[in-house]
Symmetry: C2
């Protein structure tokens, strides 16, 4: 069955790379914004009977990119696509994955339900904040982890490396990165002084003195978490601190904050466009797509 890759307005070039790797035809979705701010999309080709792979990342402005994706999914179904696969390299709203307080929206559930009911038969995303969130999508889904590619970027730069997760939630990524680098890993444990209320970060299992440390996390937004981690690791004697993340949102001067916190170099994937988005997730996504496309 014929398959075609469609690049949405927020595909950041990943559509093109995927199509080349899979030797598929690729088209850009026609797109404009009306004077009042409404989005318009149009497919420039026939979709009838085809497998349609729509690539659209949900980086800021997230809501605009989400609505464009909903329009594209719904239209693809309308236009007779046999199967619609949504490739969403950065899945916005993934951090609001439960009710931290009663009465809150579980935003990632709403987003995944909306993608599904708009017409997505299957979903591929990259390094979602919590993998369990994908259970809210009632179709096949694949969470692509681009750690191999991210770590490869640093491999030759690190001497006596050590991988650190900035908090307990990110420890799985640290373990996998450490496996690739064949080095130890740990996470920074947060504790609060019962009298002063001061938060401190400590390592239990490893000694960072005179070692190059690679911090890995899924998202850098304002850079606060990463900056705190770097500062602490430098205090603990780390020689150089490198930072790797999947999604570089980089709000409110995040990069400057990281430099000031002693980060030697920070690199991200291209799920979100930015000056540090140097590692492509296209190969990893193409590999996942091979499992979903019927030949």
């Amino acid at each position: 069955m014929e398959a075609v890759v469609i690049g949405g307005p927020a595909s950041n070039g990943i559509d093109n790379e995927i199509a080349k790797k899979l030797n598929l035809k690729r088209e850009k979705l026609e797109h404009k914004i009306f004077p009042d701010g409404e989005s318009y999309i149009r497919y420039p080709i026939e979709l009838e009977g085809k497998q349609v792979i729509i690539v659209q990342s949900l980086y800021p402005p997230q809501d605009k990119h989400l609505v464009e994706l909903l329009l594209a999914l719904d239209a693809a179904k309308d236009l007779g696509a046999a199967k619609v696969i949504a490739v969403v390299p950065y899945l916005a709203y993934s951090r609001q994955d439960r009710r931290f307080r009663g009465g809150e929206a579980v935003s990632i559930k709403t987003v995944l339900k909306a993608l599904r009911s708009a017409g997505a038969d299957a979903l591929i995303t990259v390094d979602v904040h919590k993998e369990e969130s994908l259970n809210y999508f009632e179709g096949s889904s694949i969470n692509v982890l681009p750690l191999r590619e991210l770590v490869a970027y640093f491999e030759d730069k690190l001497s006596e490396p050590l991988v650190i997760a900035p908090d307990k939630g990110a420890v799985r990524r640290a373990r996998e990165a450490a496996n690739i680098l064949n080095c130890p890993y740990d996470y920074l444990e947060k504790s609060r002084n019962r009298i002063t209320g001061e938060v401190s970060l400590s390592l239990k299992g490893v000694d960072v003195r005179n070692r190059d440390v690679l911090i890995v996390d899924d998202i850098i937004s304002t850079g606060g978490t990463m900056a705190l981690a770097s500062r602490r690791l430098r205090e603990l004697g780390a020689r150089r601190v490198f930072a790797a993340c999947t999604h570089a949102l980089l709000r409110r001067g995040a990069l400057k904050k990281l430099v000031n916190a002693g980060v030697h170099e920070v690199v991200a994937t291209n799920t979100v466009p930015s000056e540090i988005s140097k590692v492509s997730v296209a190969s990893a996504i193409a590999e996942a797509l091979r499992k979903l496309i019927s030949v």
Copy 2:
């Protein structure tokens, strides 16, 4: 069964007015925007077993307001609301109601499907561009027409009035306004010169000379349609031209354009906030809600 009115971030005060008219409790949805641009919403009260009336208009930024509404609808269902009624005074994307060219998204369908699958059991909107579009919403829906309120604003200002629709598609509104004012109505017919390609607007049935003309339309976006109509009516000898619209989007200096085109005064409802949004739709919506709320 208890009913509560919830004001979304884009309710423009209509939530409060409705609640007062129906003698219902009203709460504002808690709302913030994270540094990266994601929206957060939270209900400050228990919803279990209640009828929840969520008021959220979809004026610009439309996509942000739409996503907030989807989050609110989905969360209301999750939190045990017995019935969820979406009150959407301005329904964005209503002009993209069919495929004008092959391959296009029918955006209003996508939006209405998304509202429904997020959790809206019923929908109330105001003066939707084409009433048939509401068939895409698979639940009860009411299209509220605020013409009585809009016309009342002008009633004492007009002498020897005449109502004109700026194009054939808006003629129903003109007829209803004319009924209220007990005066004649017509629409401007567009014709194109076969040789020069020039477009001209003409009236077939009425003589506007020395009369006050009220132009009625659903939306003023950039004001282009309304300005052309006004200019033509002045040429045809209208004494004064007044303009009434439901949704005042007012993009790209629309008001200035109208003044330059000879419009004496322009007024809109409060479905979209603007300096000319002087007529409230709350009474008309409250009346419609009475049909949907179970006592």
